[in-house]
């Protein structure tokens, strides 16, 4: 069978025009599918950055909250109530909000401020400069070194600035797993200082971060929080909620779906048409092979191999193109939001398999119908 597959390979690749057209079609389709979904995945990761970075197991929030960016303050009694619930190991408040930083050169820059629980500093970032206890110092802030970092003038430990007209000083530089969606730098401070510096409504707790005593306690915690009139979500559930918001309530999901389907259709059209033409042009050769003594299943293997080889090569090239594009984009736009995940790769792979299957199906049908006698008749 190896020799027959090599024969199929040679018949395919020696027809340079057809094999190039096939590869271009599939590569282009894979590139578009992965690029679209990678942009979406990158954006969604950014949208869930706070959830990922703080790392809490459960999040308690107002039921109307859909994303981390749009918080609704909760009264202090919610924190007390959650702390007293059965199954809760500990619970801490967190504040997230926007502020305006005035830099040394007089320029203003929007920032996201995360106020960590003063006692535990739960959710603190990993520092690459400075000491975490310095966060308790006067006017202390920790800045996240991410692609937005230069927007604060590449600060260092000791850099001073104004936050909402209050003095602020950088006491540490941190790294986090994901930077935010909205292209603004992130500052960490204590919960109390965040309340002092940032204008806030009557209720101030953005989220209550909860650690259940055991994973099994999560269910009863959710029930108790619901009875209180609030919503408790596991980390992954909250990320799903954020993702669903962007998919279903912003049009992003629809656009993504349309683009992905279009990529699939373009790839299928080019590859299907080209492969079918390739088979048609070689139909007399397949008939000759049949006459010589090739079995139908061997001809089917040949066609499936040709389709699979093209599909997998195009798949690899498409991924490669996508990686190169993202790399190039990041040279110019460090915070370019695109993330190739196993999910992206899996989706593109499934679509490529479908393209190969449909393309080869028509070819196989045609080849199975050709009679060796047709070769004799010319």
């Amino acid at each position: 069978m190896k020799g027959i597959l090599k024969l199929a390979y040679k018949l395919l690749v020696n027809d340079k025009a057809k094999s190039t057209a096939l590869l271009v079609g599939i590569t282009f389709a894979v590139f578009l599918i992965i690029q679209m979904t990678a942009m979406f995945a990158g954006t969604m990761k950014r949208a869930s950055a706070t959830v990922l970075n703080l790392g809490a197991s459960m999040w308690v929030m107002d039921p109307a909250v859909q994303t981390v960016a749009n918080t609704i303050g909760m009264p202090d009694y919610v924190l007390d109530a959650v702390r007293s619930m059965q199954g809760v190991s500990y619970a801490v408040p967190v504040y997230t909000g926007g502020a305006l930083v005035k830099l040394a050169d007089g320029a203003y820059q929007s920032v996201t401020v995360v106020g960590l629980d003063d006692t535990s500093l739960f959710g603190r970032p990993q520092l690459i400069q400075g000491k975490i206890e310095d966060i308790y110092g006067e006017n202390a802030f920790i800045v996240v070194k991410d692609p937005e970092f230069p927007k604060l003038g590449n600060p260092h430990v000791g850099t001073e600035f104004q936050v909402n007209d209050h003095r602020g000083v950088i006491v540490g530089i941190a790294q986090v797993s994901s930077s935010g969606l909205f292209g603004v730098p992130t500052l960490y401070t204590t919960y109390e200082r965040a309340l002092q510096y940032l204008p806030n409504p009557r209720f101030t707790i953005s989220f209550v971060l909860v650690q259940p005593k055991s994973p099994a306690d999560a269910v009863q915690i959710k029930q108790q929080v619901q009875a209180l009139g609030y919503l408790a979500l596991a980390k992954d559930e909250f990320i799903d909620r954020i993702t669903n918001f962007y998919i279903y309530q912003t049009g992003m999901g629809t656009n993504l779906l349309i683009m992905t389907v279009m990529s699939f259709v373009v790839g299928l059209s080019i590859s299907g048409q080209t492969f079918y033409t390739f088979v048609l042009e070689n139909l007399d050769k397949f008939g000759a092979l049949k006459a010589i003594g090739a079995k139908s299943r061997e001809l089917i293997f040949m066609i499936l191999f040709q389709a699979s080889f093209t599909a997998l090569t195009g798949y690899g090239l498409g991924i490669g193109m996508c990686v190169v594009l993202i790399r190039l984009a990041r040279l110019r736009l460090p915070d370019y939001a695109a993330l190739i995940t196993y999910w992206n790769l899996g989706l593109a792979f499934v679509m490529v398999v479908i393209i190969a299957a449909i393309s080869s199906y028509f070819g196989v049908r045609k080849v199975l119908r050709i009679e060796p006698f047709d070769i004799f008749r010319g």
Binding site: L11, S296, I375
Partner: protein, 232 residues
Amino acid sequence: MPNPAIRATGVVKWFGEGAAKTQALRGVSVDAYFGEMLYIVGPSGSGKTTLLSVLSGILRPDSGGVSVEGAEIWKLGSDKLADFRLHKIGFVFQDFHLFPRLSTAENVAIPLILKRKDWKQAIIEATKYLDIVGLKGRADLPPVKLSGGEQQRVAIARAIAGQPDILIMDEPTASLDGDTGQAIVGFVKQNVLNEKRCILIVTHDDRISQFATRILTMADGVLTGTVKGGSA
């Protein structure tokens, strides 16, 4: 009389349906023997190619039987029939049907590859057959770079590469000029035909009749006569 290489008995074949239904073979019976170069001649539409196809196991007759070396081929399943063609029959098609994207040696190696020979070994063997037909130096060229006569010889090399007992040639001189056609068929008789091989040729070309051992004439789906071939 020796046992025939091929024995066809009362072969009937119809084409089309309804008003367009035509009887291409009307109970043809024929024997072909090893060591024989048997021509089937006749006007267009007489049923020559249909008979050749039935005898070689690529067109199932509506009735009648064909046995090759004593085995009834039309009782075989499709895979066994394909194996039969691969191992027993060599085909030289009228239009050669060489693969333009493969080299000459790779074209010749096809029956060997279908027989599951290792690719490299198949190419080495194919080159030997190209040597037999005088084209060893052209092994790496694609067929399109060869003349019509050379392509015909490549087709012959491919047909004999599988060492078939029976060689089927459909209008082997149709695409060639007179001299080349005669040279090719003469070459086949001299180098390919032997006492263990039977060659069946369908042709319109009177100029090559000198090479035939026996000539069958056909008209309207029946054999109309048998004559002894030339002495060449």
